[in-house]
């Protein structure tokens, strides 16, 4: 990255992408899932702005992977994350984060899950097992989540009961089908999460 860039023209939001000055507060939802399940697609389909990318630099020493025994060199890893935005009211803004790449990094991204309303686990039924670790990490952290099955053409369709058993999910956690490319479908997934969070059972659950 070119830190020393003296280019005076810094890209910014287009006029129609400016938030109103009344915007006072923001909430976030994280979309998680294995590589290539459509997280970025879903962010893009429901976002009111062009999806943007933020990144964070992490050192190899911090991620529990150390192949350099006896070596002092610490390799910096850049983790990128795509995100979009939905204005809820004149005061309230919702941000959606979805990340490409290796899921083990996201949980080290300070503050990504802290304070998030909840998470959407996006699944590809052709590769269910890539989501197992992510679901486990959400459980460990006590982050409430719903599961959305991105309907890829030709992907195996399991009965919901079988899917729930395979994922070892309790009955109250919603599983819905979606098409991450469609705005209405992505919105319905987010609504499913919000209704789940709003339900008395979830409201009582400890963090």
């Amino acid at each position: 990255m070119d830190w020393k860039s003296s280019d005076p023209v810094v890209p910014g939001p287009r006029t129609e992408e400016h938030l109103p000055h009344t915007a006072r507060a923001a909430v976030k939802i994280v979309i998680v899932g294995g590589f290539g399940v459509g997280k970025t697609t879903m962010v893009g389909s429901v976002s009111e702005i062009r999806p943007l990318t933020t990144e964070e630099t992490m050192t190899q020493a911090g991620i529990g992977v150390d192949d350099n025994f006896g070596s002092d060199s610490k390799t910096a890893t850049t983790v990128a994350m795509d995100f979009g935005r939905i204005s809820i009211t004149e005061q309230l803004v919702l941000y959606l984060f979805g990340t490409p790449g290796q899921e083990r990094f996201w949980f080290l991204w300070n503050g990504l899950f802290e304070g998030a309303l909840g998470a959407v686990v996006l699944l590809d039924t052709r590769r269910l097992e890539v989501s197992f670790d992510v679901i486990g990490r959400l459980e460990e952290r006590g982050v409430p989540f719903v599961v959305a099955v991105n309907s890829f053409p030709g992907a195996p369709r399991h009965p919901m009961r079988e899917l729930r058993a395979a994922l070892d999910l309790s009955d109250e956690i919603p599983i819905v089908e979606c098409d991450a490319r469609r705005r209405a479908s992505g919105r319905d997934v987010l609504l499913t999460l919000m209704r789940f969070l709003h339900s008395p059972a979830t409201a009582r659950a400890p963090l």
């Binding site: 910014g12 915007a23 933020t54 990144e55």
Partner: protein, 139 residues
């Protein structure tokens, strides 16, 4: 076809291995970041960090001082209308932690104002959840 099976995890049995500080500041490992990041932000001690979230909204409240660095000036121009820290990071092409450091200085100098994010609490704010729900229904 029988799908592969997963085993449920329990928050009590297996606490998260990583320490979870209250804010994005002060995480371990930041001291190991390349030194140039500190030069860029003007913060040399690596100590005090403002509690800044990815979705903290930042608004500029004063013009840049003549002594402002190009990055500070760019940030102040960018935030004439409210912008999240994540968006600032994206537009400036700087990592989140570097933007956090830049903002720590600007907040201390009262050149920007931070509008704190709404965080999930032990007892969720039902009116907040309802507001988000109604907003999404209109989408």
């Amino acid at each position: 076809m029988t799908p592969p099976r997963r085993r449920r995890r329990d928050p009590e049995q297996q606490p998260p291995p990583e320490p979870a500080p209250a804010g994005p500041g002060g995480k371990e490992g930041e001291q190991r970041q390349p030194e140039r990041l500190y030069i860029l932000t003007g913060a040399t001690d690596g100590g005090e960090r403002a509690s800044i979230d990815l979705v903290t909204l930042i608004v500029t409240c004063a013009d840049p001082q003549p002594t402002a660095t190009p990055e500070q000036s760019a940030l102040l121009r960018l935030c004439r209308s409210p912008l999240s820290v994540a968006e600032i990071s994206a537009y400036l092409g700087l990592p989140f932690s570097v933007v956090t450091l830049l903002l720590t200085d600007l907040l201390a100098a009262e050149l920007v104002q931070a509008r704190a994010p709404v965080v999930r609490k032990a007892t969720p704010d039902r009116s907040l959840l309802e507001a988000v729900m109604h907003g999404l229904e209109k989408l």
